[in-house]
């Protein structure tokens, strides 16, 4: 902070004396708002305005090109019908079922693995400085790169299966990535690989923030390590769980690239998530209204998770 004190500030005392002073000082008063205005306007137009536009489109019968005649909730009715069309599954049914499987497993495994690794790393480990970046680097990669790497690794003819066959375990069979019933689980594997290290870092930061005195007191009282973590540490980490959940839920609903790069949508679109559904219906199948309706549903799901969280975060510290 010492640089602040040393910083020289040019004084401009003359500005009151001149005739244009009032205009200038009023301009000075407005300046902060003028500076903020373009960003805020951009947010209003390109976020909220566009969301309204998308909602509008979802009530039209837009196909290849947008049409602006309101024709009612047909797109939603179709989605609703497709929601229950499980045999043969409609693409929407597949997408939302996959979202459920992927979202649940991805969030659960990332949280569990992240917490587990953070606890292990917190046992005064030698070489923590080496291990931490190894767990974390996947977060720096693009989903496309992750997808390419795992596609190769999980390919039955090239990757893991082939390798184990060469090592003599010829009965080993692992073709999930080509199997329409299991392909979504390969997305979970790659997704967990990418994000769990980051969740670990969040938990580790949380663990390091816990008061050592509390731990010591519990140890003196004769708590076992397991009890210590179950009864004291993990409850103290609640805010971290919440933040990690929000990050993961948000990543899960937005996941699009990973499915594209890893599975190209899977056999017959069996790996689709709602984001893939939206993209395909809007840009490839010329069902713009249905695509928009699915985007609105995605947005509403995320809003239901994010808004209460943001509300509590912004309210917590009244300023």
């Amino acid at each position: 902070m010492s640089t602040v004190a040393e910083t020289q500030i040019k004084l401009t005392p003359e500005h009151d004396a001149r005739p244009g002073a009032t205009v200038r000082s009023r301009l000075q008063d407005l300046l902060p708002k003028i500076v903020l205005a373009p960003s805020f306007a951009a947010t209003i137009i390109f976020v909220y305005g566009f969301i309204l536009w998308t909602i509008y489109l979802s009530f039209t019968n837009s196909k290849t090109f947008p049409s602006y005649d309101i024709t009612g909730a047909r797109a939603y009715q179709r989605l609703w019908r497709w929601t229950f069309e499980s045999d043969p599954p409609s693409s929407w049914y597949t997408s939302i079922t996959n979202m459920g499987i992927f979202g649940f497993l991805y969030i659960l495994i990332c949280l569990a693995l992240g917490l587990f690794l953070a606890i292990l790393l917190d046992q005064k480990i030698r070489g923590e400085g080496v291990l931490r970046p190894i767990y974390l680097y996947p977060m720096a990669l693009s989903f496309i790169v992750t997808g390419v790497a795992w596609k190769w690794f999980l390919d039955p003819g090239l990757g893991l299966e082939q390798t184990l066959h060469q090592w003599g375990w010829t009965s080993f069979h692992f073709d999930w990535i080509k199997n329409k019933d299991f392909v979504i689980y390969t997305v979970v594997i790659a997704g967990v690989w990418q994000a769990s290290g980051f969740i670990m870092a969040m938990f580790l930061a949380g663990l390091r923030g816990i008061d050592g005195e509390i731990m010591k007191a519990a140890q003196i009282d004769g708590a076992t390590t397991f009890q210590l973590y179950r009864r004291i540490v993990i409850p103290l980490l609640r805010p971290v769980f919440l933040s990690a959940f929000i990050v993961l839920a948000h990543l899960a609903i937005k996941s699009y690239d990973l499915v594209v790069a890893l599975t190209s949508g899977g056999p017959g679109g069996s790996a689709w998530l709602p984001s893939n559904f939206m993209y395909e219906f809007t840009f490839k199948r010329n069902e713009m209204a249905v695509g928009s309706a699915s985007a609105v549903i995605m947005l509403m799901t995320l809003t239901a998770i994010i808004v209460p969280y943001l509300y509590s975060e912004l309210r917590e510290k009244p300023r």
């Binding site: 640089t3 902060p32 566009f50 989903f143 390419v148 090239l158 980051f198 930061a205 995605m298």
Partner: protein
């Protein structure tokens, strides 16, 4: 941690239990390190192998006769769609998009954060909340209107081109993507700077105001010189996000010479014509990953801090 158990048990079996404990912990940590390193390792060794070796050898084996030919081929010769000039052009597309997008969004974020903390007005929390929420929306909900608008701007640019000989960047894919990334990155950059400036002593700003320093003078002379850490965090965060983006890139620059790196890589890998050259694919993936990996290696500390700041507010 075995020190927690009762002193009597500790005396009898303390040393060996502790040792076993440590071995288990280190074993597990090493195992997970392998899990995280494996895909990168496979990608790296494969990119240095010949096709012969890939088809007949083991995925995990080190290259017998390492060759960097796949890297050169990926950079300068491999086919992306119908053009076979390597990925170098797309790599530069990404650079040309990332640099301005990162700089503009970071600078705007700094100014916004400065206003939202030091020049508060009625409703500043609402303005911030609205910008913050924009970070979290699924971009699918704005994808189509933006495509429509960019399309109209492109047509306008083309008619300007006819009339004046210049299109002023209107309709240019790189310009479009810079614009899109700035708009949808503003929420995050504003969040970062707002949280950072929140902790910055307001008295200094007040004192400077009393001395007659103007809005921009205070920003330039007081705020900026003390903002280095948050600039690093924001730039890294934005760089990683924009470089890795695929959704906007494929929607607004998904074909032809204008594709950014991620879209081009996806095209290379999913091209089904001819023999699939896995070594070239892996080299291309490595090239696409290198910029962000290098940033991560050089400034990992800031990278993590940036991700955290995006997760834990306030």
């Amino acid at each position: 941690m075995s020190a927690v158990t009762s002193p009597a048990r500790q005396a009898s079996s303390g040393v060996s239990a502790r040792t076993i404990n440590r071995i288990v912990i280190y074993g597990l940590l090493a195992l997970f390190a392998l899990f995280y390193l494996m895909p990168l390792f496979v990608m790296l060794v494969t990119s240095f192998k010949t096709m012969d070796e890939i088809q007949n050898g083991n995925m995990l084996a080190l290259p017998q006769s390492p060759t960097i030919a796949p890297w050169f081929k990926a950079w300068g010769e491999t086919c992306v769609g119908l053009t076979c000039a390597g990925i170098k052009g797309y790599f530069w597309n990404s650079i040309k998009m990332v640099v301005p997008a990162v700089l503009i969004s970071t600078l705007l974020g700094a100014l916004n954060g400065y206003v939202l903390t030091k020049w508060r007005f009625r409703g500043h929390t609402l303005v911030f909340a609205m910008m913050l929420f924009a970070c979290f929306i699924p971009f699918q909900s704005v994808l189509l209107p933006m495509a429509t608008i960019l399309g109209s701007i492109g047509r306008f640019g083309a008619s300007l081109q006819n009339a004046t000989g210049f299109n002023f960047g209107l309709g240019n894919s790189t310009v479009n993507l810079v614009f899109v990334h700035v708009v949808y990155g503003l929420g995050f950059t504003t969040l970062f700077f707002r949280n950072y400036y929140e902790a910055f002593p307001t008295e200094l700003v007040k004192a400077a105001q009393v001395d007659g320093a103007s809005f921009f003078q205070i920003f330039r002379r007081i705020m900026l010189p003390n903002s280095m850490p948050i600039f690093v965090v924001t730039v890294i965060y934005q760089f990683t996000n924009i470089w890795n983006d695929f959704l906007f890139a494929s929607a607004y620059a998904g074909t032809g010479d204008v594709m950014p790196m991620t879209v081009a890589l996806n095209n290379v890998v999913n091209t089904s014509t001819g023999v699939v050259e896995y070594n070239v694919n892996m080299a291309a993936a490595m090239i696409a990953a290198l910029p962000t990996l290098i940033v991560y290696v050089v400034a990992g500390r800031y990278f993590v801090r940036g991700l955290m700041a995006g997760a834990v507010k306030g």
